[in-house]
Amino acid sequence: MAAPVGNFEFPWQYSFQPFFTLQPNLDTRKKQVEAWCSLILAYHRHERQYILDVVESQNSPLFCNKEINRKLRLDDVQYLLEELQKKGNVEWLDKTQTRCYILWRTIEEWGTILYGWAADNGKQNTVCTLYEITNGEDTAGEDFHGLDTNILLRVLRALERQKKAEVFSLGDSEGVKFF
């Protein structure tokens, strides 16, 4: 996984106390939730994190601003994740909703990016290992570098359905061929 590059810059809302209270006014709440959603995604992208554990996140600086002594309540975190799920940015790992993938790019977005990369780098009609894609030297500067293997697989399966790639087994690991 790539190390975080520099310190994450939180938006202005992060220092605004009411940001940590779910607003009852619907118009206000809409704006607030929007700000939170983009913050969650931006933070995970910056940290190159793909999985969020709801309980553990309570201690994460994401939901807890020690400077103003405010913390987003667990219920509200859950509420935000559900909002993100509606947009396709969250996928739950279990039924009890304790852990989830944070898809700071949706599966479709990843597919487009990945296919674009393959096309640009002449990877079509050749076989690449999944390790090569996520950890290879060639992809060091790409967004999907360090992508969670399970997410990658799901992206590739989606491409497979569009007839843009084919996933097959290479012994103990898996490979992919872009068309």
Partner: protein, 412 residues
């Protein structure tokens, strides 16, 4: 010189014959009665086995129970229960005691003045004596004599006649039969009447006070004015201010159900009265008062003619249709307030938003101090402004605090 002294001088100077000639018909001073005590009359003592002598002569009232009350001497025949005589103590002049002797029972001699002019029916026998003798054959004479003399000295019958009300009730109770359903009903009726009358007696003073209420309100107004005039000279002391507030209210002619009947008309008039008396206090209170405060103010001002919460609420509901300058508003939380029409919601929201922009953040408490309204109302203002999108909240362990709504106003 009292009549009694006069009598004693005169009486002793005359021979028995002369005395009987002078005070004719002694026995007819007795009257028939039913044996019941009048109001305020108390039994003092009684003795059985008493014979009445008229002068020196025996009468047919041979053996009976003699009772002494504060007002009368009552003799009832031991065998014939309907034969009851009474003698008003007021006509008794003095007593003599004749101790018992051989074959003679002890006696009390009762000397009497002339009978009252309006005398009720009594034994028809005529009397030649101006005294009677009470023969105590079963003893007890000494005790009776002492009590008798006591009563004559104190003259309790001369005391004020008892209140008419109670007299009626007790007379009713005595006369009616006390058995059967009718008896019970009558008893209840009598009791009810008495209660009614007791109540009216009890509240007699109060109605006097109500009668004076108008004057008192006038008085309080002048005092209030004086205090207000002086206020500038003395200090801005809160207590003086408070007193002037208290005294400034006072409704000389409150709208009541008596004057305006029941139903809608009453509430309409009440609404007019509310608007009249509350406009000024409302301005001083920042344009808004909770209904509970209004209730206290109004009832304090009305003094005796208290309003029920229901009537107040109904009257408040009439404010809008009557186009009066104050209005009832019910907040989402259920809190009801009266506010000035000039102070409409948009203006309050705008003012609150501006105030928050200026101060950065405010709690309901802080706002209430800044604007001069109660904390409840300050909170309602903030909630209303929040609803409008003017402010947003920070609900933390430090309490509920409101901030300018940067979510909507600040662009990234």
């Amino acid at each position: 010189m009292s009549p009694r002294d006069l009598y004693m001088i005169v009486g002793r100077g005359l021979s028995r014959v002369w005395r009987s000639f002078w005070f004719n018909n002694n026995m007819d001073r007795f009257i028939w009665c039913d044996g019941s005590l009048g109001l305020g009359e108390n039994a003092l003592c009684q003795q059985s086995g008493v014979r009445i002598y008229e002068g020196e002569d025996r009468t047919s009232f041979d053996r009976g129970i003699l009772a002494l009350t504060t007002h009368r001497l009552i003799w009832r025949d031991s065998s014939d229960q309907t034969c009851i005589l009474s003698l008003d103590l007021s006509i008794v002049v003095f007593l003599e005691e004749h101790p018992s002797g051989f074959a003679k029972s002890s006696k009390i001699v009762v000397h009497m003045g002339p009978p009252p002019s309006s005398k009720a029916a009594g034994p028809t026998m005529t009397s030649s004596s101006n005294y009677i003798r009470l023969s105590f054959r079963d003893a007890g004479e000494t005790q009776f004599y002492r009590s008798f003399n006591d009563v004559l000295a104190k003259k309790p019958w001369e005391k004020n006649t008892p209140p008419v009300i109670a007299g009626k009730a007790s007379a009713g109770q005595v006369r009616h039969f006390r058995s059967g359903i009718v008896g019970i009903e009558r008893k209840m009726q009598a009791k009810h009447e008495q209660t009614q009358q007791n109540i009216s007696v009890a509240f007699e003073d109060l109605s006097n006070l109500i009668g004076k209420a108008k004057d008192m309100v006038e008085l309080s107004k002048t005092i209030a004015k004086k205090i207000k005039d002086k206020q500038g000279d003395i200090t801005e002391d809160e207590t003086i201010k408070f007193k002037s507030y208290l005294l400034s209210l006072g409704i000389p002619d409150p709208v009541t159900r008596e004057t305006h009947g029941s139903g809608a008309m009453y509430h309409i008039e009440l609404a007019r009265e509310l608007s009249r008396i509350l406009e000024h206090p409302l301005q001083e209170q920042g344009g808004m008062m909770t209904l509970t405060d209004v209730y206290c103010w109004v009832n304090r001002a009305r003094g005796m003619e208290l309003l029920s919460p229901d009537d107040l609420l109904n009257a408040c509901k009439m404010l809008q249709p009557l186009q009066l300058p104050i209005r009832l508003r019910i907040f989402d939380s259920g809190v009801m307030v009266l506010h000035l029409l000039s102070q409409n919601e948009e203006e309050v929201i705008l003012a609150t938003t501006e105030l928050l922009n200026e101060k950065g953040s405010l709690t309901a408490n802080e706002l209430s101090q800044l604007v001069g309204v109660s904390v409840i109302l300050a909170k309602e203002r903030l909630l209303a402004t929040e609803k409008f999108g003017g402010v947003c909240r920070d609900d933390s362990i430090e309490g509920l605090r409101f901030y300018p709504n940067l979510f909507l106003t600040k662009t990234c």
